[in-house]
């Protein structure tokens, strides 16, 4: 098998295809108190992220998304919702920082409190490393999530993942 075939298989592994086909938490929660739209200008894909953030503890009580995208952006959004539920806003930011580094560089250190399942999910998504132009697909939902976390007033309602590329 050529190295590209192996990379392709790595990118489109079963976990990704499964989340791409049947995304989890693709819905609009009635009690969401934060939202932001992510836009990938390369393909025109749009994705809205909804958060229900605890009033005082900053805990992410619910996270969901709506929108259509490629297998990578959809799987990433779906897995992100699974990873972030029950985490704090600060943890979410830390996890995104780790994931971003994982996709774009060779040395990333995971946050200490991340469990095995979450690490596996992020690892599966990081197959985009071999496809620099696709990094923006994998990070789209995360950028929108980050924007949604920003306090009102500082929040951009629409963000994009344009600048994300593996260097």
């Amino acid at each position: 098998m050529s190295s590209n075939a192996a990379e392709l298989r790595d990118l489109y592994q079963e976990l990704i295809l499964d989340h791409g086909r049947t995304p989890r938490n693709r819905r609009k929660p009635a009690d969401a108190n934060r939202e932001a739209l992510g836009h990938n200008p390369m393909c025109g894909d749009k994705m809205t992220i909804y958060l229900k953030l605890g009033e005082h503890d900053g805990l992410i009580e619910d996270v969901a998304f709506e929108g259509q995208g490629c297998a990578i952006s959809t799987a990433s959004a779906s897995m992100m919702t699974e990873i972030l539920k029950g985490k704090t806003a600060a943890q979410a930011q830390e996890i995104f920082d780790y994931f971003h580094t994982l996709c774009t560089t060779d040395d990333a250190t995971p946050p200490k409190d991340l469990n095995e399942d979450d690490l596996d999910r992020l690892d599966a998504l990081s197959g985009v490393r071999q496809f620099p132009i696709r990094v923006k697909c994998a990070t789209l939902a995360w950028h929108a999530m980050q924007a949604a976390l920003c306090p009102a007033g500082m929040r951009q309602n629409e963000v994009n993942s344009e600048s994300d590329e593996r260097t």
Binding site: S2, S3, N4, A5, E7, L8, L11, Y12, L17, R21, M42, C43, G44, D45, K46, Q68, G69, C70, A71, I72, T74, F131, R134, C137
Partner: protein, 415 residues
């Protein structure tokens, strides 16, 4: 891979022309490159590359200024290219050929110079729903600036543009019709003859965006009877950084300069400045000298093959590819107008264009995935994006088979 020998036309030797294109002979991801993104930009024949090298090696200096031999040679080569372009599109005079940086700049030039001079609040500019952003946004700027109104012609669900729909969009306020000759996203060839006839009967000038037509069809601007025609060199096997604006001399000379500076003036004094006539008045500063000469060389190259023969062969490729792709169940071709150039956009049931593009690249196949700089068209057709295979005369029937095989791999992964 099966070769469909019977389907290969004997009259056109694509294999022979391929040998002129160095970039086509390389492996991508371990397999031979199959380049099917010609609508975005075409590869360059060695004749063009050699022209660039020769110019820079032997005949290069700034143009229109030096009294010395080298500058004269560069100027001659540059102006010869202008004459080559004139002949290629059968313009009346080479003074009507303005060199720009590309089709985008050509349209911006017309919008900025002609538009701001001759359009006023409430005037309407008719375009279509399938335009490239380059033929939408410059006019939108005038909507903001002077209050013109942009009127997009409704297209059919199959991507066709009906003359009746164009007529319906025209009103007594219509002051310009600016439409694609061929759609970059769908391949539709627009009924430009009928559109121009209708426009003439109402004294409305017509701009044709010929970016996609220029490499696929013979173009004769006098026979067409339009007022402006624009295209880019890089889609016509020439260098990047050069475009053409053709306009009727009477109109061009009534238009104020777009940019100002050196090489476009007659007399400059602090009391005032007078400008050259077209094309000089629109060519401020040092142009892309070598690239213009390279465009001339590209035109000579395609002219020796002949645009009619190219069109005929590409049409056979289009028919073959359309029939092969139509056999794939989960695939739907977007844009099935009866009159098309060799561009096929498609979507697949379970796979997003991006994923298709990535997987095809794994088989060495270069296609475009996305909105093709035509977001309003994607909205109109209700798809976020498409995958697009666009064929040139150097593509072969075997490459169509490779595309089909690549799509089978997409199906294996996505079902």
């Amino acid at each position: 891979m099966t070769l469909f020998a019977c389907a290969t036309p004997k009259s056109f030797d694509a294999e022979k022309y391929r040998t002129d294109f160095p970039a086509l002979h390389q492996n991508i991801n371990g397999v031979p490159l199959v380049f099917l993104d010609n609508a975005a930009s075409a590869q360059k024949p060695r004749q063009v590359l050699e022209t660039l090298t020769r110019l820079y090696s032997n005949n290069y200096a700034n143009i229109h200024r030096g009294v010395y031999t080298l500058s004269q040679r560069a100027t001659d080569a540059f102006e010869r290219a202008r004459e080559t372009v004139r002949r290629f599109i059968n313009a009346k005079s080479s003074d009507e050929i303005v060199f720009t940086r590309g089709a985008t700049e050509s349209i911006n030039l017309v919008a900025h110079s002609w538009g701001r001079t001759f359009l006023k609040n409430g005037d309407e500019v008719v375009i279509t729903e399938l335009e490239h952003h380059a033929n939408i946004v410059p006019w939108q700027m005038l909507e903001k600036e002077i209050g013109i109104v942009l009127k997009p012609v409704r297209i059919e669900d199959n991507g066709d543009v009906k003359i009746e729909s164009v007529k319906a969009a025209i009103s007594q306020h219509t002051k310009l019709i600016s439409v694609a000759h061929v759609s970059n996203a769908l391949g539709t060839i627009l009924p430009v003859e009928a559109i121009i006839a209708e426009a003439k009967s109402k004294n409305i000038p017509v701009l044709l965006d010929g970016c996609q037509a220029i490499s696929h069809l013979p173009v004769d601007v006098q026979a067409l009877g339009c007022d402006f025609y624009v295209f880019s060199s890089h889609k016509l096997y020439g260098p990047t950084g050069v475009g053409v604006l053709w306009g009727k001399k009477e109109i061009l000379n009534k238009m104020p300069p777009y940019q100002t500076g050196g090489d476009m003036i007659e007399v400059v004094s602090f009391k005032g400045t007078t400008f050259k006539n077209a094309p000089g008045r629109f060519e401020a500063g040092t142009p892309a000298i070598a690239e213009v000469v390279g465009l001339g060389s590209a035109i000579e190259y395609v002219s020796t093959i002949g645009l009619s023969r190219i069109a005929e062969y590409e049409n056979e490729l289009l028919e073959y590819a359309t029939s092969q792709l139509s056999k794939i169940n989960s695939l739907r071709i977007i844009g099935t107008a009866p009159n098309k150039a060799s561009i096929i956009s498609f979507v697949m049931e379970n796979a997003h264009p991006h994923d298709i593009g990535t997987i095809l690249d794994g088989s060495g196949i270069a296609v475009r995935a996305g909105h093709h700089c035509a977001q309003p068209l994607m909205d109109r057709l209700g798809v976020p994006a498409t995958t697009r295979a666009s064929f040139a005369f150097y593509n072969t029937f075997a490459e169509v088979d490779a595309l089909v095989a690549g799509i089978k791999k997409v199906q294996e992964i996505f079902g």
